[in-house]
């Protein structure tokens, strides 16, 4: 049996993941491990690279959310955003930017039956136009796309280590989004 990874193992793996094309598989793998360490349970283990029935679309990872108690963070996200399946995509860019196209692509992958919450995990901060596209998508379709940088992943590992709930960070990010939304 393999020993469970600790927060420190994941910190080291995140630190050693090279940005750019050479490290994208590793970034996705470490990112999924980190999110699973942070959120499973209460979320279910992720479905990795699930395809649509026709096989045309491939998403990086999807975390089923069966929490229904609105007093819990994920239960609240289910009640507020219908978040049954949390779509997660990974962008390990170094030279190019995470722009509006990447946001639109993630939005396109978010099926109505899954709910209206997706995460884009990225090794660098997205551009201002990516944030604007995200706002437009929310205004038009009520889909909420959060950017989670590697620094955010590290912060959530710290939150978990001190015995608090790392999904508090997700809730704060959403509330901040509402405060700033045009």
């Amino acid at each position: 049996m393999t020993a469970a990874l600790t927060s420190n193992d994941l910190r080291r793996q995140l630190d050693s993941c090279p940005p750019g094309e050479g490290g994208w598989t590793e970034f996705e793998r470490v990112g999924i491990r980190t999110l699973a360490h942070l959120f499973v349970p209460p979320l279910q283990s992720p479905l990795i690279q699930p395809r649509t029935l026709a096989g045309a679309e491939r998403r990086d990872a999807v975390f089923p959310n069966r929490q229904r108690d609105p007093g819990s963070n994920w239960g609240f996200l289910h009640a507020d955003h219908g978040a049954r399946m949390i779509l997660t995509e990974f962008k390990n860019y170094d030279k190019s930017d995470i722009g509006p196209e990447e946001v639109a692509e993630t939005s396109g992958h978010l099926r109505r039956s899954w709910g209206r919450l997706a995460l884009i995990c990225c090794s660098k901060k997205p551009t201002a136009s990516a944030y604007r596209r995200r706002n437009t998508i929310y205004s038009e379709e009520k889909k909420l796309i959060l950017f989670v940088t590697t620094a955010d992943l590290r912060e959530m590992l710290d939150i978990k280590d001190r015995g608090e709930d790392p999904s508090d960070f997700i809730l704060d990010s959403i509330e901040d989004f509402y405060l700033q939304h045009d």
Partner: protein, 277 residues
């Protein structure tokens, strides 16, 4: 860890550089006499590696982190401050110990314990034991609120009034005044992470709305820590004219270290040498 340890199950690191080998061994012996076993971590830092990086990866399961600082090793002080903040964010109690003459008086806001005199080992053991019983989340909420009020009194806040429970809807729990002419009204929101929740972005927005309305100051007291997102929101409200401050778990614990009588009154196991077995 010996069976008679006053701190069973706690992992205590004693971190030091090569220059302070002798002092570290002396500290370890003094703590062992009190039944406190430590894990020695001599940080042999490679050229180009920082202490902060070393500690981030080396410290796996620490509850208390004792850092030995001397004139000889003081060139690392910037790294230590960074490391202490990183360990705070993980909920680890950081105790800086200075070998006389002390190279620093505080480490990123934490008072430094001067390791001098025949009672130095005892004082350090008391400090470590106090840190071990400062589980603020274990206090019933009303008791935590009373502790917060007493600490605020120590730091110059006066006329502290507890609002009626229904006043929670107003976005604050206590009212106080501060300043030599009682000119500052302070509205305080008190949150115990496990008892009545955390300080979220919405709580900051609510309190900011009230203080801006009344021209008052706001203080958020929490056993937990704010997320970086919540801190950015707080900064934005302050830039817009709200006067909000935060006393989070690490800051409260430092205040209790500086006021051990308050800790003893409110935390039942805070008497020196009486940590729970």
């Amino acid at each position: 860890m010996p069976d008679n340890s006053p701190l069973p199950g706690r992992h205590i690191y004693l971190s030091f550089t090569q220059e302070d080998d002798g002092t570290a061994a002396e500290i370890a012996r003094a703590l062992e006499q009190r039944g406190i076993a430590v894990r020695l971590d001599r940080a042999d830092i490679a050229w180009g590696e920082s202490w902060a990086d070393h500690l981030r990866s080396a410290v796996e399961q620490a509850d208390t982190f004792v850092l030995v600082v001397s004139q000889d090793s003081s060139r690392h002080v910037h790294d230590w401050a960074q490391a202490a903040e990183a360990l705070d964010r993980r909920g680890i109690d950081v105790v800086a110990v200075a070998v006389p003459p002390p190279a620093i008086r505080d480490l990123a806001g934490r008072p430094v314990l001067e390791y001098a005199g025949p009672s130095a080992g005892e004082r350090l053991a008391d400090r470590i034991e106090l840190g071990a019983v400062m589980d603020l989340d274990s206090l019933p909420w009303m008791q935590f609120e009373a502790l917060a009020a007493e600490l605020l009194t120590r730091y110059g806040y006066r006329s502290i009034q507890v609002e009626e429970p229904a006043a929670g809807d107003k976005g604050y729990d206590l009212r106080a005044v501060h300043g030599s002419q009682d000119e500052e009204e302070i509205l305080v929101q008190v949150k115990s992470y496990r008892r009545n929740g955390r300080v979220s972005v919405n709580d900051i927005r609510d309190l900011a709305g009230v203080v801006l309305d009344r021209g008052a100051h706001g203080l958020l007291v929490t056993t937990g820590q704010l997320t970086s997102v919540a801190r950015q929101v707080l900064d934005r409200f302050n830039q817009a004219g709200a006067q909000l401050q935060v006393l989070d778990g690490p800051a409260l614990r430092q205040m209790l270290v500086a006021n051990p009588d308050v800790a003893r009154r409110h935390l039942t196991s805070a008497e020196p040498g009486t940590a729970p077995r």
